[in-house]
């Protein structure tokens, strides 16, 4: 049974690491938003896996908080980028843009 536990934690950890790589490398802000969303989902999945495998219900309220935070964070950043879309930036940094 311990091997099964380690397999679950290893898959979750590998997924979180790959998501962190995308979070660091993401070419745009939206990629990072998606990566952060997935990372929070993986964190809450890991907490739930711990609660299920160790039969420890004390971390279950943390799951509610983490899922709420994931939703609020991604939606607020998406709305922030939408606001940037309406107020277009000044044309000074065009040389930087035309990479």
């Amino acid at each position: 049974m311990t091997a099964v536990f380690w397999a679950a934690y290893a898959m979750l950890g590998a997924g979180a690491l790959l998501t962190l790589v995308r979070l660091a490398r993401g070419p745009s802000l939206l990629d990072r938003v998606v990566a952060t969303d997935v990372l929070l989902v993986i964190i809450s999945a890991g907490l739930a896996v711990y609660a299920a495998l160790a039969r420890d219900p004390t971390v279950v309220p943390v799951l509610v908080v983490v899922s709420l935070l994931a939703f609020v964070g991604s939606v607020s950043v998406a709305r922030y980028i939408g606001g940037m879309l309406i107020h277009a930036p000044a044309a000074d940094d065009s040389g930087e843009r035309a990479r």
Binding site: L18, V34, V38, V41, A52, R55, V60, L63, V64
Partner: protein
């Protein structure tokens, strides 16, 4: 531990392993795909199905109804909020040209052509507007003009 409990544990652990595997596939897809929309497609797997599997596994394995209700609350909340955030992120991604349009088979929003010609900010370097100079002029003109709402 009697036989029924063992069967229940096996079912719960299979569900939990399935959810963990979906988290791994989300990481892989997030790293290997090339586009905000396709990355979101990969990332939505644990957001709905993975969380659901793990929650069912946890509800089977944890005793007591309070934990079960809270896990059910988390699952319902994920299923409510995942479409909302995905919709908002994908809409902004399309408008800001973070979408590889050469890979799209059907593009129903692209009829106006006006969105496509204007620099909107942080375009990805591999998908600039079609005519960069004209787009820059148009976006400068847009900056000069007073913005009229949405």
């Amino acid at each position: 531990m009697n036989e029924v409990d063992t069967v229940r544990d096996v079912v719960a652990i299979v569900l939990v392993l399935g959810g963990a595997f979906l988290c791994l596939t989300a990481g892989l897809g997030l790293l290997r795909f090339h586009d905000v929309l396709t990355r979101m497609h990969a990332g939505t797997k644990p957001q709905v199905l993975g969380i659901l599997l793990i929650m069912i596994g946890g509800a089977i394995r944890l005793q007591g109804w309070s934990a079960t209700w809270m896990l059910l609350l988390v699952a319902a909340f994920q299923m409510l909020t995942a479409p909302v955030s995905a919709h908002m992120i994908s809409r902004v991604a399309y408008r800001r040209r973070h979408v590889r349009r050469d890979l799209l088979l059907v593009d129903e929003i692209r009829s106006g052509e006006s969105v496509d010609r204007v620099y909107r900010g942080d375009e990805p370097a591999d998908a600039p507007p079609e005519q960069p100079a004209a787009s820059l002029q148009a976006s400068r003109r847009e900056d000069q003009a007073p913005s009229g709402g949405v």
